[in-house]
Amino acid sequence: MTPEETKAFEEKIHAFVGRENGPPKRGNDDVNEAMIRHWAEVMGDELGTYTDAEYAAGTGKGGLIAPPAMLQAWSMEGYPMAENPAQDIQRQLHNVFDAHGFTGVLGTNTSTEFFRDLKPGDQVTAHCIIDTISEQKATGRGIGYFIETLTTYTDQNGEEVGKQVFRVLKFIPADSNDAADSSTEDDSPSVPTRITSPRGHDNSWWWKACDEGKILIQRCTSCQTLRHPPRPMCGECQSIEWDSIESTLDGEVYSFTTLHYPKIPGYQYPNTVGVIQLSEGTRLVANIVDIDYETIKIGMKVKGSVEQVDEKTMLPVFRPE
């Protein structure tokens, strides 16, 4: 959509904000013991105050009450809704979204407040409005808008007994090819693993040694200068002859940082990474583990070892000495 089209679309959807979703809806049944008992059985929530009239009478409740979570159930449409959905204002709003490509819908969250217990004989009426529509959001599911409806529940005396906010995301579904691709990746480990280094001519020897538990440091055989990360030529004497030494992994923290966000699959957060000054003189970037990150100091002595950090990955890690 161009900015002008987006503006026109947003004007259309925002015109719905504050509108009633339809006339107040009185529940098909008044609060009653049979429905309470069925609910309690299905939910496995058979408190005496829901199911045992005699017991309930002896409690502070003074008699049977309905499970608070049933609040929404009292005014639900029932099965006919599945075949013939209500053409209410909310449906009309969703139609506007659908017509502009926002065909995806996802219930994201709901919150409910309960003002008093409902008892058999109470009559529940639901009053629903389109309460808010967010600004446009880029979500993991795609570009979309969050719509919040607010339902206020009243009793036979017009007193409020509870309130519910229900939030849905209407979004443009991301390319459906993505789903097809991910379904074919059945050879990947069940738990995500770390992203490993690409291996090429100039670095595969180093990673192969790491796989075997050793951290090597490249050494120029002409002038003996150590270098890391590895490179094909010595910057001091331009020799292309080299060998390597094994690091003792004694070192100190030259700098460090702790990553909190974004959280990338395969890593534990907070994730602390240090630039380690090795006793041999080169530096190595690696995780610092088993320490409260707020207590790490530059200059702190650390000792490294090469460990299996997940199903597929061997890496050097450092701990305070």
Binding site: M1, W207, P229, F256, T257, L259, Y261
Partner: protein, 390 residues
Amino acid sequence: MVKDKAAIVGIGNTEFSKNSGRSELQLTCEAVRAALDDAGLKPSDVDGMTTFTMDSTDEIELARAVGIGDITFYSRVPHGGGAATGLIHQAVMAIASGMCETVVCYRGLNGRSGHRFSEGVSGNIITADAMHWGWYMPSGLMTPASWVAMYTQRYMHLAGEDKVKEALFEVAYTTRQHGATNPAAMFYDHPFDRAEYDAQKKIVGPLKLYDCCLESDGASAVIITRADKARACKHGGVAIKGVGQSAAKNMESMTSFYRDEIAAIPSMDVAAKEAYKQSGLTPDDIDAAVIYDAFTPIVLWQLESWGFADPLKSADFVLEGGLRLDGRLPTNTHGGQLSEAYIHGVNGIVEATRLVRGTSKNQPDKEINHALVTSGVGVPTGGALLGKMD
């Protein structure tokens, strides 16, 4: 020498948003058209182009779309935001050497709705520097914020942790005050204070959400032409006095952790020295600045590179209000990339041009004879000194 050989005569931005709803090519066409209109030039006046290697808009596609004719110069500058003033660098050299007369410098990106840089380098990287990133991905050090935080920790250790943290807030605060009064800024009219800053989530190390720049969709373009032609343009010209570019010794892209000291940015030191030498200017001559602000700490280090503060002392300069509109060096008067938009520094060139023209939405009261604009750091970088035409 390049001093005064070329001038910026046109500037253009699209709107900045989280979802432009159109292609990067289209955004770029719109910014280029706006810049040409601003200069009072026709598409057929353009015979050169520069952009980022990272930019997705092909020169010849742009030329066909905008109606630009024969092109005799085109080039691209590598390393993301480090390319920003590199576009000026290329344009000035081409114009000064007679390769072309009028260059359009452009950058357009759907940086929020498309590829987001905050996701780091964890995707499929099949480039020449893939192995370089391989030293950092396994430990998880793979987002721009994390690389900058590694330098920041070291810098705080040497310069004083509490003072530096206060200065980071001051950078975030001042920049967002500027953004709040720039109607084109994504943070326009957004109040911002210490409580808002403190309430946000930690990203990496000392960096919280508001120490990090926006991610945005949009495009910016700048037209540069020969100085003698600039006078005839609609708003005249803003002269390019000097422009430096540098990748200093022992460099890695964003991860130069192997230098003798990492609490500094030697590439910008070299670029600054070069730009001052070309222009004959000194820090005292610079009246305002647009300093690349992908993250708050990188503003501190650049103040040191350009001589506004001694090494490790820029927090004092900032805490004295140096970046504010009435301060020594009004900085990022458009709201910077922290709060106007993240167009890889090219929107900064647009703002620096406005400062010299006297048309910023937050124009400082004093006369702006010379303004500095810089590129992204951590990568090979650069900076340009702009000024009134003689």
